[in-house]
């Protein structure tokens, strides 16, 4: 078997890794899994941009393998930095699109939906300044909720750090926000799918438990999700209606 922290081989049944000292007895997963990834945590050897690119590509387009080989321990700072870089890139570009396209989009929206837009460009700039803080806080709250729900269904086979790492590396999905109009929808769907696959891989659990942990908070936050979906559908319907005339 291999140490999930440093990836080096250790003897079967060993409680602590004799290479890095990490506790391995409580960490579970397929015995033959070598947890050496992600590339982002090897950026000193690979180079910053190559490691970032490889991590984005693998986490979004080959998530099963990515999370199966992801280290489930090793610190919060690397995954947090990755989430901030990818998340901020996506969110800032979505603000850019909103600032550019808002006036055009407003003409397609019904009157009552137009009234919701009270933030304005200056407000958006203020929001942009606070976004990194919201992102970090949101990540911890989301990971905390996911881990609590995993604990409730006996799905937290590894520690909180494993869940946090899944949440952080799933933040690459926010890069879909660079797409105007439909980027938000892609980002939400990708984030949910990648998180479920990530929890399966990181904790070595079934898809049902992982899906429960991901979807239960969404059901709890019914007001927000229903409002978001309703606004999206009304915006698309209004846009299609206007285009068809």
């Amino acid at each position: 078997m291999f140490c999930p922290h440093c990836g080096k081989e250790v003897n079967e049944g060993q409680t602590f890794c004799h290479h890095c000292g990490a506790r391995i007895a409580q960490l579970s997963g397929p015995a033959d899994t070598v947890r050496t990834g992600p590339a982002w945590e090897d950026r000193e050897n690979r180079g910053f941009f190559r490691a970032l690119g490889a991590t984005i590509r693998e986490s979004l387009f080959a998530p099963t393998e990515f999370f199966r080989t992801m280290k489930v321990a090793g610190g919060f700072s690397d995954p947090l930095l990755y989430a901030i870089i990818t998340g901020m890139t996506g969110i800032m570009l979505s603000f850019f699109w909103q600032a550019i396209l808002r006036d055009q989009l407003q003409t397609f929206l019904p009157q009552d939906v137009q009234a919701v837009d009270t933030i304005g460009t200056a407000g958006m700039a203020v929001l942009a300044v606070f976004t990194p803080f919201f992102l970090v806080m949101g990540l911890f709250v989301w990971a905390g909720g996911l881990h609590l729900l995993l604990l409730m269904v006996r799905g937290a086979k590894n520690g909180f750090e494993a869940t946090f790492r899944v949440a952080a590396y799933s933040a690459g999905s926010l890069l879909f926000l660079v797409l105007p109009f439909c980027g938000g929808l892609f980002a939400v769907i990708s984030s949910l799918v990648v998180t479920i696959i990530g929890l399966k891989g990181a904790h070595g659990i079934g898809g049902g438990k992982a899906a429960f942990a991901v979807f239960f908070p969404l059901i709890l936050c019914c007001a927000l999700s229903v409002l978001a979906v309703a606004m999206f559908i009304s915006a698309v319907a209004a846009s299609l209606g206007a285009l068809s005339h």
């Binding site: 803080f133 806080m137 911890f140 709250v141 905390g144 609590l148 604990l151 409730m152 006996r154 909180f160 709890l220 936050c221 019914c222 007001a223 927000l224 229903v226 409002l227």
Partner: protein, 136 residues
């Protein structure tokens, strides 16, 4: 002065407890200075069913906490209010333990079994929801 329970200090000594405490503090400060009640959407679950959802009253409870009205906050969403206050307490204890004012502790934070903990969490959640359905 009474001694602070060691289990509480042990919980506060963990880095993640301090982070969650900071988040709770930030939320309370935001509720003090921002019109969060106007920004927060109304509950669709309650709108559709007439029953409070498990998070109903949380925003108003946060505003009451920000104004120092703890009984008012607890009355609106007891579980949420107590969790926020507990997180703030852990934050201050965590900071004090890092400054050396309160000795750090690595004693196990809970003695209950995972099954008991799961039952306690579920029971608290359901009791809180029942309270919200009756009172909100």
């Amino acid at each position: 002065m009474k001694r602070i329970p060691e289990r509480l200090v042990a919980a506060a000594s963990s880095g993640t407890a301090v982070i969650y405490g900071m988040i709770a503090m930030a939320a309370i400060i935001a509720a003090r200075f921002l019109p969060v009640e106007r920004i927060a959407p109304s509950c669709a679950f309650k709108g559709l069913t007439g029953l409070a959802c498990p998070t109903c009253g949380a925003t108003r409870s946060l505003v009451h906490l920000a104004e120092g009205d703890v009984p008012g906050a607890v009355g609106l969403n007891p579980l949420f209010s107590v969790m926020m206050l507990f997180a703030v307490l852990l934050f201050f204890l965590g900071v004090l333990s890092r400054l050396g004012t309160v000795p750090r502790s690595s004693r196990p934070q809970v003695s209950a079994s995972p099954a008991q903990l799961r039952f306690i969490v579920l029971a608290l959640f359901m009791m809180n929801w029942a309270y919200l359905i009756v009172h909100l």
